[in-house]
Amino acid sequence: MIADSLTCALRELRRRKLRTVTTVLGNLLAVMTMVMLVSVLLYSRSSKDNVLNNLGTHFLAYVPAPPSASDEGFFADPSRTSLIPLSTVEQINANKSLVLSASGFLLYRLKDIDKKFVHVGGFDPANPAAVNGSSLQKSDIIAGEFIAPGQKGVCLMEEGFALVRQMRIGERFPIGDKSFKLVGVVRPGIRPAKADVYIDHEEARELISTRLGKPLGPFANIVIVEVASSQIQPQTIEWVKTLIPGCMIDTFACYEPAATVMSMGQKSIGILLAVIFAGTVLLMARTHWTAINERWRDIGVLKAIGWTNSQVISQIMLESLLQSAIAGLLGGLAGVIVLVVLPLKNFLGSEIAFSIASSLQMLVAGVVLALVTGLLAAAAPALAAARSTPAESLRR
């Protein structure tokens, strides 16, 4: 029975070229539009999420320490701090479902040779958490250059501090018993962890050990955490609090509006996707309905010569499925090709590359959608034809 239906379906599609081409073209355009719109929409969302993810997803954790008579020591903002083992930092860093990266940061206050206070920040230039916002980042450079990972004997200086101390790029700045060449001036703006001078964390560790008169050991006084997404910021903060008992958290409150905007964005994208899917389904249904309505009389003839309702329905369904499969594949391919050719990244000014993989997923989705829609769209007129008597079909 299926073989006969398939033979007849292929014959119909081959012989009625204009109708076949019109139906396939209608469906092809619907699938192509859907693939393009959904891909652009999803890419746009990824780009926006990327921006929002980088906004306010950082926080600092430190453990406050009791006041001391000494002016020198570990600080975070105005508070003195205790030390946190680097093993805890590693533990935080390992939880990739919550944390993008975590880094130990040393913020140490000392008096320089002129008896003036200097806040020295020891950071790891190779760690994304350390150079992505909590203390400073490459885009904060306003003169000179950033410290490269592993670069020793150099420092960065906060703009205001450099101005007051009249320091210029290339000059050396003494800290403790060492001096560091100023390679860059930074304007970090408002950040939770700000120092006057930034040096490599290993050199900071040596410097502090000298000041303390004993090895500092594997500790930091601040943990910088970059959260995987603004939406999980509160959850991540709570988790870190359990790992570092008594710790304080310093953060920008940006994650709250960022998370709200992301949530709103996802809802609006969801609504838009639903509208696009509904539009595609209706457009394809309309195309199939028109094609089948033209054949009402033929359906009556087939029933009159002894074809059963199920035989008529299966032939109509097969025709629709074949057309939908072709339209879905070609439409999806056309959509993907246009997306690949189109410089979307430049149009949207996005920082992330357009993923062809997601377009291929859309291609598969397009084919599946075309098949399901073809089936549903054909089912309605096919069932209507089956419900009517042959005489009614012939009279139409």
Binding site: D298, G306, W307, T308, Q311, T389
Partner: protein, 220 residues
């Protein structure tokens, strides 16, 4: 076996408020040629539709081959048409995108007959009707007479018990019309088929065993 192939009692058919057939009572004997004459719009096609199971009566009963027709489900009626009833439509109703041989073969599709065997049968019948060189032509490429012969072949290909012909000579010249009637009548004689023809035109009544006139929704 009952001598009657059809037996209708109080058969009526209405389309909304319009009553087309009213309380028809008739019987059609096997292996006979029955002619229903009547003006255009008198309900002849409607009556043939009821006899073929293409439509259902508004009231009344039709027995076919000893069993009620109107109570059968759609699938049973389809099977009946495929195996026992041949229909020639007024305008032939050939499938426009199927060739002559495919139109004839269509009746045998979805049956137990192998594709090769049904193709052979269709080709043999069309050749017998003088269309051996027109097998692969679409209906639009055939003359009206040739289309009519394809319709006749389609009707005969399943060796039906009854042939229901609606104006089979309506669209062809008289000579060709007579030829078609002779062929159908010959089929009645040789195969024991029953023939019921509806016509509004002239019909050589010498071929008819029984003539009914359909007038004002009633058979006379």
């Amino acid at each position: 076996m009952n001598d009657l192939l059809y037996h209708a009692k109080n058969l009526s058919k209405s389309f909304g408020a319009i009553s087309v057939l009213r309380d028809l009572n008739f019987a059609a004997a096997r292996n006979k040629t029955h002619v229903i004459i009547g003006r255009s719009g008198s309900g002849k096609s409607t009556l043939l539709s009821l006899l073929a199971g293409l439509d259902r009566p508004t009231s009344g009963t039709i027995e076919f081959d000893g069993a009620a027709l109107e109570t059968r489900c759609n699938e049973e009626l389809a099977q009946l048409r495929r195996e026992k009833i041949g229909i020639i439509f007024q305008s032939f109703n050939l499938l426009p995108s199927w060739t002559a041989v495919e139109n004839v073969e269509a009746v045998l599709m979805h049956s137990d007959i192998a594709p090769d065997a049904r193709r052979k049968k269709a080709v043999a019948l069309l050749s017998e009707l003088g269309l051996g060189d027109r097998l692969n032509n679409l209906p639009a490429e055939l003359s009206v007479g040739q289309q009519q012969r394809v319709a006749v072949a389609r009707t005969l290909v399943n060796d039906p018990k009854v042939i229901l012909a609606d104006e089979p000579t309506g669209d062809v010249d008289p000579e060709l019309g007579i030829e078609v009637i002779k062929r159908l009548v010959a089929c009645v004689k040789s195969n024991g088929t029953t023939l019921i023809i509806a016509t509004h035109g002239l019909f050589p009544l010498e071929y008819a065993d029984k003539v009914w006139e359909l007038k004002d929704g009633k058979l006379q």
